[in-house]
Symmetry: C2
Subunit: 297 residues, 2 copies
């Protein structure tokens, strides 16, 4: 498809992902309760920003978005598993996620843990079984290697641990950045780099994409912190003020609200600068930057 | 190495695994608490039966055991993650594992969940980064595809769910077998099939190896059930009688102890028969069958 504007493009691919995700689960030979639990959280909505980053990167290199569909779904499975586990009573103990009861509130803790485990494991099945003729074995292995690093102890899991260890402490900026780069940034960066890998990007282009991803990821998190203070509960689907309540170090708490907004703009500007250096058709990737900076949920 | 007997062989490769496992974690750039938690459970001992099955299969095809070392470690990481999550308060709520405090008793529930997540994710990193010149990209992808299926919703995770759903119920034999084939059998089978894949085994040989693995897995579980009644607590490192206490359906409860022992012998005999049909040097794989049937821990 060739939508005429970014808004149509992003809502089209959100629907593509919403539709595709459960199809990877429904046909599995598994007890129905675990399939229900996995699909419940996969289908709980969400912005699908990670798939959108992947698709827009493929588009930037002139590739078909559909090549990346299994990767996009694998990343959403990993993102979803991380939310299920983060919401558990022993972690953030959240009852609501996007305005709906969290997985363990519906299915119980044991099934929620296993639904997360199942989604994480199955994501690697999707990638190893990609069958598009343009996707080589070497590409699949590079993607699995990068995804397991980005989501694992050196990536998202490490960031979650650092986040927990930083609770009720006044963290300096570099520790706050470590947390965000790992907890959310690495998986966002994977999506962008995956688009580059599938497009056979040059090394110098991958390096610039990684810079772009770093700044996008931090911008995303700063806006998250800002929304937790200035956001609208109904739009967000969760209560605001939880960071203050939980005594978390945030960009506004470290830098003041004005300082946080300047930092947000700095990372958006740097992201756009890195993006231009990649030397591809960057129109929609730049739109995503602007969307992140101005999002209200 | 070329040890002169199976006992030397199995204890040599247990040491190889015990030594290799932490080396995949210590060098990671991660918060030290999560590395400690992962290494704690990886180093908690265990029989290393899964690596041994893999190595003995490679040997059966005349291959070097060392080719499979990253796979063996990946499987132990997955096995270990499953034990950490199974022991959690919302699952089996076990305080002891192999005579030592369980992961969440030492590190708390949140870190235990994340240590499991980290081990599961990192296992795929090991396989995608195998560098032995005899291991092709196609082999690595076949291994990742099979492992993610064997450990995921259609394998181990599905079996764990079925096991939980079967608690406090009188299950018929076919449901008990479903649980064991998935909860423990699929990962044991992966090890054997991985040896076949790395040895470029023929399709008919892989089919026979799968039959062999199915029977080995069931024999393993029946002996587990028997040991829970007739075993020695000190040898097992855990209390006996827990199945009766938890009102679990077991082979002895369904078939009587005599019937369970006959069933064990049946599966050992069938395993050996299938093994002979593979047409390889089966000496040590047959020894493992006998070890499983007569093990006391």
């Amino acid at each position: 498809m060739n939508p005429t504007d970014f808004s149509t493009y992003s809502s089209y691919y959100k629907r593509v992902i919403d539709h595709a995700l459960p199809t990877y689960i429904t046909g599995l030979t598994s007890p129905s309760i675990i399939k229900d639990a996995m699909i419940y959280s996969l289908s709980a909505g969400g912005k699908r920003i990670r798939p959108l980053l992947l698709f827009a990167t493929l588009r930037a290199f002139g590739k078909e978005e559909e090549i990346g569909l299994p990767i996009a779904c694998a990343v959403e499975m990993i993102h979803t598993y991380s939310l299920i586990h983060d919401d558990l009573p022993s972690m953030d103990n959240d009852d609501l996620r996007r305005g709906k009861p969290t997985n363990h509130k519906v299915y119980g803790e044991a099934i929620a843990i296993l639904a997360g485990d199942g989604l994480l494991t199955h994501s690697f099945h999707l990638i190893s079984n990609m069958s598009h003729p343009l996707v080589t074995s070497e590409m699949k292995l590079a993607l699995i290697s990068l995804l397991s690093k980005s989501a694992g102890p050196e990536g998202m899991v490490g960031g979650q641990v650092a986040d927990m260890e930083g609770e009720n402490k006044n963290l300096p900026l570099h520790e706050l950045e470590y947390i965000h780069i790992h907890k959310t940034g690495k998986l966002l960066a994977f999506c962008i780099l995956a688009g580059g890998i599938l497009s056979s990007a040059e090394e110098h282009q991958l390096a610039k994409l990684e810079e772009f991803a770093l700044h996008v990821g931090l911008a995303f998190q700063i806006q998250d912190d800002i929304l937790d203070i200035e956001g609208n509960e109904e739009m967000l689907g969760k209560p605001v003020g939880s960071d203050v309540h939980n005594q978390k170090t945030t960009y506004p708490s470290l830098l003041t609200m004005q300082g946080a907004k300047e930092k947000l703009q700095y990372h958006i500007d740097e992201a756009v600068r890195s993006l231009h250096d990649v030397g591809v058709n960057h129109d929609y990737l730049e739109e995503i930057c602007n969307m992140i900076a101005s999002r209200n949920h």
